[in-house]
């Protein structure tokens, strides 16, 4: 009924959420560890200051961001729709530690309720959408620039730039994590060239919307509770670590994309298994060889020994796959019947 709603899936959410399906366990696990460490650290700090009103305020603001993210608005001249991301907004309103927790909680709820991304990808998402805006964009871009009073140009630029940088970093994180996981055919370069410009636009929209929200609040309430100011010094180590990880990851990805074999090699190393299971060794190879000699359906065109073994695997795969699905459905049916009788 509402035009903005008919614009289809909105760009922001589309590109920014990592998903389980794109991740390798190694990358997912490392990002989980990184995010868990950051969340634990911020939790400790919040717990220490424990200003009674802060936690519910964090919860309410998180709920606000969660709700506002679902309100799409049209972006003039593009025919597409945008929405609020909220990472920078939360950092400005709450300070980095509380902002990280608030964003992380939104992502947890989204992962649980909407299965947005998934559980394994949660680590990546908290890092990309929570940590990077709150602990990199906010202290290193927004704070140094936001010298003027609210409503003045320097501050407006700081908000814009903070939002853009935050989203650029987040997008970069997505690219690196995806490429390192090696689940898509996208090369680092291609993916990077696709993601960063889109997120420049998204970042600008984010900045403009954040700005207009802050302006409204400024007019409405003369005093907003000031976020605690100490966070950026104490968090410097974490920030450095996070940046380092990202840069290192980016470099590896860049290098790997120039040397595709290197990527395969890296992935095999990291995941401890060969990327293509159809090689002549191992289970499938052995099965394939058995099959090649005893096949009931012999009239396949084998192009070469390796390709051939894959072809055979594939046929078995298709048949076996179908049988598996039938079996799963059967098991489900039996369970269903038993449950009904119980």
């Amino acid at each position: 009924m509402d035009q903005a709603d008919d614009c289809g899936p909105n760009v922001g959410g589309l590109c920014m959420h990592m998903a389980d399906a794109l991740l390798s366990p190694a990358v997912g696990g490392i990002m989980w560890a990184a995010s868990a460490a950051a969340v634990a650290r911020s939790s400790r700090k919040i717990q220490q200051e424990l200003d009674g009103n802060r936690i519910p305020l964090m919860g309410m603001l998180a709920a606000f961001v969660f709700t506002a993210q679902m309100i799409n608005f049209s972006i003039p001249g593009t025919g597409s729709s945008g929405h609020l991301g909220g990472g920078l907004l939360l950092a400005i309103l709450l300070g980095p530690d509380a902002a990280l927790l608030a964003t992380a909680s939104v992502l947890v709820i989204q992962a649980l309720f909407f299965a947005d991304g998934g559980l394994l990808a949660l680590g990546c998402n908290i890092f990309n959408l929570g940590f990077l805006p709150a602990f990199v964009a906010y202290p290193l871009v927004f704070r140094p620039l936001a010298t003027g009073k609210a409503g003045q140009l320097p501050r407006a630029l700081a908000v814009l730039l903070g939002a853009v940088v935050g989203l650029q970093l987040g997008a970069f994180g997505v690219v690196v994590e995806t490429v390192l996981s090696g689940r898509t055919a996208l090369t680092f370069r291609a993916f990077l060239l696709a993601m960063q410009p889109i997120h420049l636009a998204i970042g600008l929209v984010e900045g403009v919307v954040t700005l207009s929200l802050l302006a409204f609040l400024q007019k409405a309430r003369l005093e907003l509770p000031r976020p605690t100011e100490q966070a950026d010094t104490a968090g410097r180590a974490t920030v450095a670590l996070g940046l380092l990880t990202l840069l290192l990851g980016g470099w590896v990805a860049w290098y790997a994309s120039k040397h595709p074999d290197g990527l395969e090699w890296a992935i095999q190393r990291v995941t401890g298994q060969s990327e293509l299971q159809g090689t002549a060794s191992g289970w499938h190879g052995r099965l394939a060889r058995v099959q090649a000699t005893t096949a009931v359906l012999p009239d396949y065109q084998f192009k070469g020994s390796q390709e051939g073994s894959r072809a055979v695997t594939s046929l078995s795969g298709v048949m076996g796959g179908a049988m598996t699905l039938v079996l799963v459905a059967g098991a489900g049916w039996i369970l269903h019947l038993r449950k009904r009788r119980a």
């Binding site: 009924m1 409204f216 007019k219 409405a220």
Partner: protein, 253 residues
């Protein structure tokens, strides 16, 4: 001017969770009538009101506004005809200032700026709220918010005004003012309320809902005189009728 007729025909509504909120509701409200919708909590008043401009659509049955059936295709026109004032005025005020809020509807109708301005002034003036024009909504008292909310709807020059509990939360003087303002509004009015004294003041006709069905539909005075009916529908006589020494009535319970 058969325009301002509101009609429900065997209207049923069932919410997503299975709650049957309305069952075969049928009535016809004529041009210029002022009708009260009363009934217990959860009787279905708000649900019914939300059918008049397509916020909800019937599960079965039909709604007709001015002989036009309310369906997806007619929604836009009907929303221009029917002005809806929600129970919580905060829901209706979302622009930076009250003036902009009141202008929102006319602007979206594509009117030229001068007309919009005139409409804004007229609507605010009618609600005695011209002084609020440049104020932001979050600075207003409950009564002021209520009047502003009604003005946002009046500026669309609706033919039919639908109000959900307009007097709730108002202090006695603000309530009295609002009743006066509504009385001056001569279009068709439908008011859902628990304030039966306001009904007595404003609405010659009353519809009683009970558990999603129309339990009575008739002259307000007659309905309010029927104690058995009132009791069955969780209602009681208006307070002004209860303590009246002239009528010698005893107060309820």
């Amino acid at each position: 001017m058969s325009h301002h007729i509101v009609e429900a025909i065997e209207l049923c509504h069932r919410y997503g969770d299975g709650t049957q909120a309305l069952t075969e509701v049928t009535f016809r409200i004529h041009h210029g009538e002022s009708v009260a919708l009363v009934g217990a909590n959860g009787a279905g008043k708000s649900t019914l009101l939300q059918h008049f401009n397509g916020v909800l659509l019937p599960t079965s049955g039909a709604v007709r506004i001015g002989e036009v059936p309310l369906v997806k295709e007619t929604l836009r026109d009907i929303r221009r005809t029917v002005g809806m004032v929600f129970q919580d005025p905060d829901d209706q005020l979302f622009s930076p200032t009250i003036g902009q809020d009141v202008a929102f509807g006319p602007l979206n109708l594509g009117l030229p700026p001068a007309d919009v301005e005139a409409r804004v002034r007229a609507a605010l003036d009618r609600m005695e709220a011209l002084s609020l024009k440049d104020k932001p909504a979050y600075r207003l008292s409950a009564g002021e918010k209520r009047r502003a909310a009604i003005a946002t709807v009046l500026s669309m020059t609706p033919d039919i005004l639908v109000l959900d509990e307009p007097t709730s939360g108002l202090d006695p003087r603000a309530r009295r003012q609002l009743i006066g303002l509504l009385r001056a509004f001569h279009h068709t009015k439908i008011i859902a309320t628990h304030d039966l004294d306001m009904v007595l003041d404003l609405c010659p006709r009353t519809l009683v809902l009970h558990e999603g069905r129309v339990k009575a539909d008739g002259a307000t005075r007659e309905i309010f005189a029927d104690e058995a009916l009132l009791a069955a529908c969780h209602l009681e006589k208006p307070l002004t009728m209860q303590g009246c020494l002239m009528c010698g009535e005893k107060r309820g319970i």
